[in-house]
């Protein structure tokens, strides 16, 4: 009964929102095309063959499903960490720091308890606490969340470096942290695509739960109303500040989960230069924007960005091109995604021309 009704509602929504979906699709495609074109230009200027680099990027990026999906897990969750507050009108670019603290706290908990579930939960709580702290600074002290997020990202970066090199290093391998105990590691599960890491499925389930919370619960409704119009939320008797705090807590929990899963289910230890963690939070911003802040869209968008990351590693190995191509492409795509008005104008322009012809 409930399912049939949901399906009918879903179909209705698609009909009503046809226009919206059309614009979204065009936005995503045009942004990706602009991104790859400008990326090609930069590669050409730096003296590489763009066609060769891109063919490596796509073929190698997609060749190993397990690698692709494993790498998509943390950025899917930092994508959610950006998207949830965004829907409530808050700009959370602190996914980076929240991921660090999630990984760090889960490492401490899992090595002392040997329990992966406790490790994951503690990582989520740590991320949520950091998110809530930023929300409180914003709501009660009027601190711009962008500034607070970047400051805390750097504090977390140096704090993590300090703890890794001073307290949590592996005496046998000094450039690595103590590893997650063998009995607490999450492994792979067999699927038709080969063995896939469990953490990917956990991240997908988390995305679906977030989707449910945002679109089918009162809390989600509160968040979205507060994001669209804080004034309306006030008239309706909601407190928009509560929405800010909830969304930042939930977003932070997702980034913390990303850090914990990466550690417990994939890398098992952090290197003391932090290259295993660096940049995953920022990548999440691109993931969320390309997925149009929709948790289902973010699943696919994360896989796309995972391909960029892996492709970046491969072009370094095979063509000697720098892996930061992934950052460059992300940057251009994000800038192109900041222009919804332009795409709308483009569509209405095309429509008027078609009408003129008729």
């Amino acid at each position: 009964m409930g399912l049939v009704q949901s399906l009918i509602r879903f179909k209705e929504r698609i009909r009503v929102k046809y226009e919206e979906y059309l614009v979204t699709t065009i936005e995503i495609l045009v942004s990706a095309i602009i991104g790859f074109s400008i990326g090609a230009l930069i590669l050409y200027v730096l003296g590489f063959d763009p066609a060769k680099i891109y063919s490596i990027l796509f073929t190698k990026g997609l060749s190993n499903p397990n690698y692709l999906l494993s790498k998509s897990t943390p950025i899917m969750l930092t994508g959610l960490a950006f998207a949830i507050p965004m829907l409530a009108g808050v700009f959370n670019i602190g996914g980076e720091g929240q991921l660090y603290i999630g990984a760090l706290v889960s490492l401490v908990v899992v090595t002392s308890t040997h329990n992966p579930i406790l490790g994951i939960l503690s990582g989520m709580i740590a991320g949520a606490a950091l998110g809530t702290f930023k929300a409180i600074l914003k709501v009660y002290r009027g601190v711009n969340e962008v500034i607070a997020a970047i400051m805390l990202n750097w504090v977390m970066y140096f704090l993590t470096l300090y703890l890794l090199t001073e307290k949590l290093y592996n005496p046998k391998i000094p450039h690595e942290s103590i590893p997650v105990p063998e009995d607490a590691r999450l492994g792979k599960i067999p699927t038709p695509l080969g063995d896939i890491r469990l953490i990917f499925f956990i991240a997908v389930i988390a995305s679906l739960i977030v989707y449910y919370i945002l679109y089918y619960t009162n809390v989600g409704y509160l968040l979205r109303v507060a994001g669209l119009s804080p004034q309306t939320a006030k008239y309706a008797g909601f407190n928009p500040n509560i929405a800010v705090i909830y969304s930042m807590a939930l977003g932070g929990a997702m980034a913390g989960l990303g850090g914990a899963l990466l550690l417990i289910g994939y890398v098992y230890s952090i290197d003391t230069t932090m290259s295993t963690l660096y940049g995953l939070g920022f990548m999440g911003i691109g993931v969320a924007l390309l997925g149009r802040n929709n948790p289902i869209g973010i699943i696919f968008s994360a896989i796309f960005f995972s391909m960029l990351i892996i492709g970046g590693e491969m072009i370094e190995l095979l063509a000697g091109a720098p892996p930061e191509l992934a950052d460059t492409l992300t940057g251009v795509i994000v800038i192109a995604l900041a222009l919804p008005y332009t795409y709308r104008m483009l569509i209405s322009y095309m429509r008027i021309r078609r009408m003129m012809k008729e």
């Binding site: 002290r141 001073e166 691109g286 940057g331 994000v334 800038i335």
Partner: protein, 308 residues
């Protein structure tokens, strides 16, 4: 003791330059109603460009100039997106930061085959003032330039008609338009000027101060400059004070571990230094959360102007 005070003061004046320049630039941009959080990206890209040009020509002033050009171009890009295309200013800024980092590191790896830092390049010489007792007080010529620019910007914004028109675009663009001000053009130029000053600050990072490009050369300074804008209450004169405060935190993060090492030689400072590096960020956050409550944001900040 006196030596410490002199060295802390002169270093503060050296460290504050990018924060003051970018802060003043961003104040001009935000007073016109556009917010550009891509300061970090401009810092990275212009310091990288300045390094290349100085490396190739050996002339740090040419490097400084190339950084200004990069800032100008970044300002044109952001101005075009925010003013004429009515794009989302925050998202465009975040995208620019990622793009600038990506391009710069790609360039670093391609040109010098290095993943961490470029070779050292020539620097703009510092000015040494001799004071009593054989002590010298060292500052960069850019420290003076930055202070003069801030004073000039204050005079322009608050004492001239064109400054008033610019502020009107950020407070109430409809009324500004009714008064005959071209809101689009004013906002566009204000964004470009902001980019130019930020580009100058970014180029200073390498050719005026550090002497080489490194992966984390900016390390959040673009965002500390943004914090400086809010701290200064959108007043260029206060941005000098803010630059000194935030610059001082930065000086402390380097100075304290060195001092501790001198006093307690047995302490292992290398790893402890990571903890001291958090000082500028914690300090900035503390100042911002204790003081900003009373700040008054330009009313139309970040909202695209739509002509009727």
């Amino acid at each position: 003791m006196i030596e410490d005070i002199i060295s802390l003061t002169s270093n503060t004046l050296i460290y504050m330059v990018p924060l003051v320049l970018a802060g003043v630039g961003e104040i001009i941009t935000e007073r016109s109603g556009v917010v550009n959080i891509g300061l970090e990206g401009i810092f990275v890209l212009s310091s990288f460009t300045a390094t290349i040009i100085t490396f190739a020509t050996g002339n740090p002033y040419l490097g400084l100039f190339s950084g200004v050009i990069i800032g100008l171009l970044a300002g044109v890009l952001h101005g075009f997106i925010s003013v004429y295309l009515r794009g989302d200013q925050i998202i465009a800024g975040v995208g620019f930061n990622t793009l600038a980092y990506g391009i710069s590191i790609m360039g670093l790896v391609t040109i010098w085959k290095q993943h961490g830092a470029s070779p050292s390049v020539n620097k703009i010489p510092m000015i040494s003032l001799r004071i009593r007792g054989g002590l010298t007080f060292t500052i960069s010529p850019l420290s003076i330039v930055a202070i003069l620019i801030a004073i000039g910007a204050w005079y322009w914004l608050f004492k001239t008609t064109s400054g008033l028109k610019l502020r009107a675009c950020g407070e109430d663009p409809k009324s500004a338009e009714a008064m005959g001000v071209n809101v689009f053009r004013t906002r566009f130029y204000a964004t470009v000027i902001g980019g130019i000053l930020t580009g100058l600050g970014g180029a200073y990072l390498t050719v005026g101060w550090i002497g080489q490009f490194t992966r984390h050369i900016s390390a959040g300074r673009g965002f500390i400059a943004l914090a400086n804008v809010a701290f200064s209450n959108w007043n260029p004169l206060m941005a000098i004070v803010g630059g000194m405060i935030f610059g001082f935190f930065d000086v402390l993060s380097i100075y304290l571990p060195i001092k501790i090492q001198l006093i307690y030689p047995e302490v292992k400072v290398t790893t402890l230094a990571y903890l001291f590096k958090t000082i500028p960020y914690i300090g900035t956050l503390a100042v911002v959360s204790l003081i900003i409550g009373r700040a008054r944001v330009p009313r139309a900040l970040g909202k695209p102007y739509i002509k009727e």
